[in-house]
Symmetry: C2
Subunit: 449 residues, 2 copies
């Protein structure tokens, strides 16, 4: 372990370049805040495929143009759109009381009369998987997979299957509906929405997430023994194919023969909050960094921002962008989509193959408290194009401790953003993008990485 740490320390001995602009961003950037304050206040929630998302694109294009970006465009695509309806739930036995619930996309409707059934309790997703075929006939499955805060967000991988797969798994065993404990780490009555996927051949059923306090209450009722019954009214609708789009803009580089640096975020949000940490902040951060880099003088490479559409309900924008731009090689891809808390680690997928570049990047951000690592970057959800090209990726890892308190809830609002930590993000991005955009050499990639 010690040897590894010394090796990492050796990576960051270089004197950082492009420090001035990054320091300025740290001290006083207001660009990222201006973006996220504006879009959350003036547009609010931006549900994929809806008019609200379209208003967000118009707003963002106007903002990019006002802030000096070129080639600003809305690249349209079609998508299947799901919207929320009524959302109500009650325990009806042993006694009646209401519960806070929100539907998962793209689940089906209970109809306006709702569904009432006995509830079967599964502490974890693995317990549901182990249940016998047909054992849930006519019943509601309750999966209460617990999630705790982690700095790197890895608990999402642990608890996530309860949302991603439990409704389909329960349906395959005969369940008429599924309720899950929210995949979230807060203790407020604001349940966490999100997508779930039904396996080919499994008919979608209604499914919703209970807030953590409600899931706690349901667990206490099961601990007492006896039958627990619930009634659910969840009436989401599929709107069929509607229009969404990716917003792009550029700081045009001086050498058009060089591949661009691609900075991604997503502009859509869930409907429950106003899309502040997910992902208004990310768009603000990448746009602010691009603008700070431009202010240093025209960069060598074009810096392209991709404000992807319709990320939340199935990465539609990422897929559309990858398809539309498949023949356009990217120099390196970076994404900001994990809130607005401080960056604590820099990961790349060329740390071993291009140690000089990694040393330069890590050295440039060390003074912002960003640590090096051997962990290999995998890129964000909207970087499909870069992954498909086998391109270079950098993950500027944000502190995710608080992220899943807010993620996909009504609480994803502007007040949750700490302006000082937002500025640290912009400073780190400015330092990194400044180096990349002014570098002509190719990035050495090892196919084994």
């Amino acid at each position: 372990m010690k040897k590894q740490l010394l090796a990492l320390a050796a990576l960051i001995l270089a004197t950082p370049a492009h420090a001035d602009r990054a320091d300025e961003a740290l001290a006083g950037d207001t660009i990222a805040w201006d973006f996220v304050e504006g879009i959350t206040t003036e547009v609010g929630p931006r549900m994929p495929g809806t008019d609200a998302e379209a208003r967000g694109r118009v707003w963002a294009m106007d903002w990019l143009r006002r802030n000096g970006f070129s080639n600003v465009a809305d690249e349209p695509f079609e998508m299947e759109t799901w919207v929320r309806g009524q959302e109500m739930a009650w325990v009806v036995a042993p006694a009646t009381q209401p519960m806070a619930i929100t539907a998962l996309s793209t689940t089906s409707s209970t109809g306006s009369e709702g569904i009432e059934a006995e509830v079967v309790y599964f502490p974890t997703y693995a317990d549901l998987v182990a249940a016998d075929a047909g054992s849930l006939d006519g019943k509601i499955a309750f999966v209460s997979h617990d999630m705790r805060q982690t700095q790197d967000g890895s608990s999402y991988g642990f608890a996530g299957p309860a949302r991603w797969m439990a409704p389909s798994m329960a349906a395959s065993k005969g369940a008429v509906a599924t309720v899950i404990r929210s995949v979230g780490t807060d203790s407020h009555r604001v349940p966490h929405t999100g997508t779930t996927t039904f396996t080919e051949g499994i008919q979608p059923i209604p499914a919703g997430a209970l807030s953590n306090p409600d899931a706690d209450n349901l667990e206490r009722l099961f601990a007492r023994g006896g039958e627990v019954r619930m009634k659910l009214i969840l009436t989401p609708r599929d709107l069929g194919m509607t229009k969404s789009g990716n917003v792009v803009g550029e700081i045009v580089g001086s050498d058009p023969s060089l591949e661009p640096v691609l900075l991604a975020c997503h502009l859509d949000s869930w409907d429950l909050g106003t899309g502040a940490i997910d992902d208004g902040a990310g768009c603000g951060i990448i746009a602010a960094a691009a603008k700070h880099v431009a202010a240093q003088g025209q960069p060598l490479r074009t810096v392209r921002v991709l404000f992807a559409g319709a990320e939340e309900t199935g990465l539609w924008g990422s897929a559309a962008y990858a398809e539309a731009h498949s023949d356009e090689p990217v120099y390196v891809g970076l994404e900001s989509d994990f809130g607005a808390d401080r960056i604590w680690r820099i990961e790349t997928n060329f740390t071993a193959s291009d140690p000089d570049l990694y040393r330069e990047l890590a050295g440039a951000v060390a003074r912002f408290g960003v640590a090096p690592t051997r962990i290999v970057a995998t890129g964000g959800a909207d970087l499909n194009l870069v992954r498909e090209q086998g391109g270079a990726l950098i993950d500027l890892q944000q502190d995710g401790t608080r992220y899943f308190d807010l993620h996909h809830t009504a609480d994803d609002t502007l007040d949750k953003i700490d302006p000082a930590q937002l500025r640290q993000n912009v400073a780190v991005w400015t330092a990194v993008v400044g180096i990349l955009a002014n570098r002509s050499a190719p990035i050495v990639r090892d196919s084994e990485e």
Copy 2:
């Protein structure tokens, strides 16, 4: 100031009596938790005048009997009952976005079609008071009186008028509806409900509270200038007169000629949460203290617990109890209705007139971190009987720093209770009630206090 502090310090030099049982409560009480865990899990919200409140009374009487209380009864009374309907709000200009709102009682309905109107912004209640007569004709008043955390809860007195009086004041100036910033100190999308009062001759209008993040957003829209319009759908209903009741129970004392010690809380709750901190915890605390005192041997005086009904929508239970028991003198009244966080100060209305007793009480709780004070106790909302009798009152002041984060919201749930702080409450109450219930001497009261 120093002289006063020394005088207070002198009050608490006495060696505490009845310490053993209080220490035991501090170390391991589970009675208060058993009560609040039980009623929040098995009954849930207990809205005044509804079947849910009635189920709470049945549950509580059963609990009291199982825990050794005598003379357990439900003392019925009639009350005017108001229940919530649909609650939706949107900003519709300059652009449409939804807002989280909850209706205040006992406001009127917008009808299912709702009301849409221009919004007029008042930063504080005083600004609304200063508005010209008729200046709100056809408009919605928005009062954004800001509230911050205070340990003693005094900020409720500062911000409270925005809820208690703004809708009536706005109606008197022609407003068709009122929205207020929640009278609360959190930053979650869980608006705070509560009562408001319309002045005689003023026709009630629809009125609701926005969550703090929504009020922030509305303020940011006003800061941009231009007309702001909202649509409200709030459809509460008056159910007319329905039945509620006060639950009582006793630890019977050995000397029936002595006046009882009266311990109060309220059993009802708002419908949004499950009534954990407001006031399931209070009922658990007083019942646990009474039971711990009984476990020391039969007390001299009867200890009577009053689980008042229908406190939230107008102190109906307190009034009914005061009327039904007006001819029964009380030795001293105490109430627990400020959450479950630790007691930090002991106030009485006989500190100056009966310093020996105050010294004994303050001395007994000093080891639990409870400080003396010259502040005169005024008693809780359900102690009308004692106030009307001019009787002795003790306020065991709880730390209210977090209280208005949760008060009257959907977030008032069991997980918000810290078991260690709950036990400290029981220990302090056990020490105080143990002294009072075993004391034959009258309490010396000064009519000037």
